[in-house]
């Protein structure tokens, strides 16, 4: 325990010195690094906030760093930080609101595998975005802005992209069914959903860059609306409808079930803006299959988190309790299937 604390202190100190050197290199000899603090959230990558004070100017920045500075893939499909920083640059070029990248550190550098980006002001918490008065003007325009951002992401030229995993609808059924069966905790609603998904697979779309986790929680929203798209760790090459449907999954509506897009907007508004910005014109019914896939996927992700408790890997009450959220996705699946059959 004591050794672990010492190691952690050493690592803070190491980061501080490395950032101090980086600040001088990039902003001149008088620049100073200030206010370094570890932000909560981000299970697989460390996120640190800090400032560079450069004469009268203060630059508010974020350091994204592999845990302990060493690259450990969270799972086979989570991309590396270097890939993530390259993707941010691609998205920026395509006009998608993302934090600009200021520096990239290779594995083995003084700060480890990491990159530095601008810190964007705004809110990420879904419940606050849906309820607080500060976002009253943002909510009505957010579905349109999400449609435009997704059209931008899906239009990024494939040959400019870094190497990414490929995963379409059939791949995802296979992957999540395998995980679900490994747990040996049979759930008839999931069986019904798998059978329905297999029997009703939509015709494939030309593969595009998919963000993979586009929903409230991973979007920075300010008083004017969408300020930035974060958390590109699950980016892959796949079906554009996956991104559109994921933000519609009821688990990401934070109680505001009547507004299909994220609890704030209507799907027609998103799809209209998506098409107007150059994306394919999708019918809302084409999104249903992927929303069903999304609810099933989230249900199995909750089972994965509970499995961390069951296996003894993470004994926290939070991991145990999440096992009792799987039934939320079962009712969502039944509500979706009832409409479809």
């Amino acid at each position: 325990m004591f050794r672990a604390i010492v190691a952690k202190m050493g690592s803070n100190d190491q980061i501080e010195r490395a950032l101090e050197r980086w600040a001088r290199r990039n902003f001149g000899d008088t620049a100073r690094m200030a206010d370094l603090k570890r932000l909560s959230g981000g299970a697989s990558q460390e996120t640190w906030a800090f400032e560079v004070v450069d004469g009268g100017a203060t630059h508010r920045l974020i350091l994204r760093r592999a845990p302990g500075g060493e690259s450990v893939a969270r799972s086979s499909e989570a991309i590396t930080l270097r890939t993530e920083s390259a993707l941010l640059a691609c998205a920026d070029m395509a006009g998608v609101p993302v934090p600009g990248v200021l520096g990239v550190f290779e594995p083995g550098s003084d700060v480890g595998e990491a990159f530095i980006m601008h810190r964007i002001a705004g809110e990420t918490l879904g419940r606050k975005i849906l309820r607080d008065d500060a976002y009253k003007a943002a909510r009505p325009v957010l579905a349109k802005q999400c449609g435009e951002a997704l059209a931008g992401i899906h239009a990024v030229e494939r040959d400019t992209l870094p190497d990414l995993p490929q995963s379409d609808g059939a791949d995802q059924i296979k992957k999540y069914e395998t995980i679900y069966r490994t747990f040996d905790l049979p759930r008839p609603v999931f069986e019904l959903a798998f059978a329905w998904l297999k029997a009703n697979k939509p015709a494939p779309q030309p593969p595009v860059l998919v963000h993979g986790d586009f929903r409230l929680g991973n979007l920075i929203v300010d008083e004017q609306g969408l300020a930035s798209v974060l958390d590109w760790e699950l980016a892959h090459i796949g079906d554009p409808r996956e991104d559109i449907a994921w933000i519609c999954v009821n688990s990401w509506r934070f109680g505001q079930i009547a507004h299909r897009v994220g609890g704030f907007g209507d799907l027609d508004a998103l799809l209209g803006a998506y098409a107007a910005a150059g994306g394919t014109r999708f019918d809302p019914r084409e999104i249903d299959w992927w929303e069903t896939m999304g609810s099933l996927k989230w249900g199995i992700m909750c089972m994965i988190m509970y499995e961390a408790f069951r296996s003894g890997g993470d004994p926290s009450v939070e991991r145990a309790a999440i096992g009792r959220r799987v039934s939320e996705t079962e009712i969502d699946l039944l509500n979706l299937l009832e409409r479809a059959i």
Partner: protein
């Protein structure tokens, strides 16, 4: 054996301790986990109250769909049902199947997360 205090009384006492005495003194991550712990105890209280009747209804529903004998356990019947859906032998059109799953899921969620928006939506459309 004695049942005073009952399991529900004991759980309610621990929940009060967390809510009124412990949680107000905690901050950050520990405060978050105290809130989760309190919610877990609320789930347990609902489980003690609702599960016996809900599980009997589930068993009756499964027996009707699967046409199995009285002695089969709920777990065995659910495994059987899963295998038959997976094998294509049963689907949403199987008489009684969808209604059974909806009733059972509503009962489960009434214990697990009674305020979930999807539960209210399901209750507004009878199976």
């Amino acid at each position: 054996m004695h049942d005073a205090p009952s399991p529900s009384e004991l759980i309610a006492a621990v929940k009060s301790f967390i809510d009124d005495a412990a949680a107000p003194q905690l901050t950050g991550h520990a405060a978050f986990h105290a809130r989760v712990a309190s919610n877990v105890l609320a789930t347990l209280l609902r489980e003690l109250e609702q599960r016996p009747a809900a599980e009997s209804a589930e068993a009756a529903g499964l027996r009707a769909i699967l046409d199995t004998d009285m002695n089969a356990s709920v777990d065995a019947m659910n495994r059987n049902l899963c295998a038959r859906i997976r094998g294509g032998d049963m689907d949403a059109a199987t008489p009684g199947l969808f209604k059974h799953l909806k009733t059972t899921t509503i009962a489960q969620l009434s214990i697990d997360q009674p305020n979930y928006s999807g539960l209210k939506a399901a209750l507004s459309k009878p199976a």
